[in-house]
């Protein structure tokens, strides 16, 4: 009996290892977009007057590309009030609340240290890859962790590369490698558009995202698009249930 439990435990650990590596591999294509973004972040940090250590330290602790870019731009412009920078960061990152809500049902079944670690590592990209895996095969914390850690180390190391070699690299963002991200997300999106409601959610989100990008500051378009589209999706689900 004990022997059986031990072998069961061993095979579970083995599966977890496999899931972890699959998570790392799944981030491969997205790294094409992350690495030039991180290098640019490193270069921008130095241009804004931060030291090499400060710039890398920010990537290590904050680990949020968009808000780091905004903060560095503000610091370069002479804004050094931590309250202003914290508020701006909060606004840029509010969208993570929605992603956290969507993943919470799976994450609350994990141990607290794992919940804290996975939350600290939550990004748009980690969310996109992890939810696609949930959609196909169900949730795996090991996979989620593999995805998150791969993105984290790539971000920190590419920031480091940016501060060390920045002066030798001419504007890495102009290479067009940032196209890797929308391209990957397209492949993740299509399998979801199976029913009428999903297609409507997609269209509403697209329209709101474009309108929001034109008229709203920062990343607010993500929040309005997500709230508006999912609200309509939820209402239509209700109507469909009522019809049946």
């Amino acid at each position: 009996m004990e022997y059986e439990q031990a072998t069961l435990q061993a095979s579970k650990t083995k599966i977890d290892h496999q899931e972890f590596y699959q998570g790392i591999i799944a981030t491969g294509p997205i790294l094409l977009g992350i690495i030039p973004f991180g290098i640019t972040c490193g270069i921008m940090g130095l241009t804004a007057g931060l030291t090499q250590v400060e710039t890398v330290f920010m990537s290590l602790l904050v680990f949020a590309g968009a808000s780091q870019f905004v903060a560095i731009t503000m610091i370069a412009g002479g804004i050094t009030s931590w309250i202003v920078l914290a508020m701006t960061t909060l606004l840029v990152n509010l969208r993570h609340l929605l992603m956290g809500a969507s993943l919470a049902q799976y994450m609350i079944k994990q141990t607290l240290p794992k919940q804290l670690l996975l939350s600290f590592l939550l990004t748009d990209e980690a969310y996109a890859v992890t939810t696609s895996r949930i959609y196909q095969k169900g949730y795996s914390a090991a996979y989620h962790l593999g995805v998150s850690l791969s993105l984290y180390f790539s971000w920190v190391l590419s920031t480091l590369a940016g501060v060390l070699a920045g002066s030798y690299i001419s504007d890495p963002m102009s290479w067009g490698l940032d196209f890797a991200m929308p391209a990957t997300f397209l492949v993740l999106l299509f399998p979801r558009l199976k029913c009428r409601i999903s297609i409507i959610v997609c269209i509403v989100s697209a329209l709101l995202a474009v309108a929001g990008s034109i008229w709203l500051p920062g990343k607010w378009y993500m929040i309005t698009a997500c709230l508006g589209a999912t609200l309509i999706g939820g209402l239509l689900e209700g109507v469909q249930k009522y019809e049946k």
């Binding site: 920078l85 919470a104 049902q105 748009d124 996109a128 696609s132 492949v187």
Partner: protein, 106 residues
């Protein structure tokens, strides 16, 4: 490291963590209501769309629906490949290839 920069980095880190852990912390305490689950179901589709579409239509921050917008052209091609193949590698290779070719000829 200067202390004022350190304070900035720590406050940014705390605020960011709060947005990432907030909902998980909330649902540790209370069970998730059914209506909310129904609503959350569509978040991935909405977020993926909101990440893709502005990156293709407003790559530089302004709406650009012209033949000079390489992101849009490569994005349309990538969408077709993604739809047909469901394969990330071929979608990226063809999409990036299109980006490079467009840059050379435009």
């Amino acid at each position: 490291m200067r202390s004022d920069i350190l304070v900035i980095i720590f406050s940014m880190a705390i605020v960011t963590f709060a947005t990432r852990f907030g909902c998980v912390a909330l649902f540790r305490q209370t069970k998730m209501p059914v209506w909310l689950e129904r609503w959350l179901k569509h978040i991935p589709t909405a977020i993926l769309t909101a990440l893709i579409i502005p990156a293709l239509i407003l790559p530089k921050g302004q709406v650009d629906i012209t033949l000079h917008n390489h992101y849009l052209l490569a994005g349309i091609l990538a969408a077709i490949v993604a739809y047909k193949s469901r394969n990330i590698v071929s979608t990226i290779l063809l999409g990036m290839g299109t980006m490079i070719v467009l840059r050379l000829i435009d």
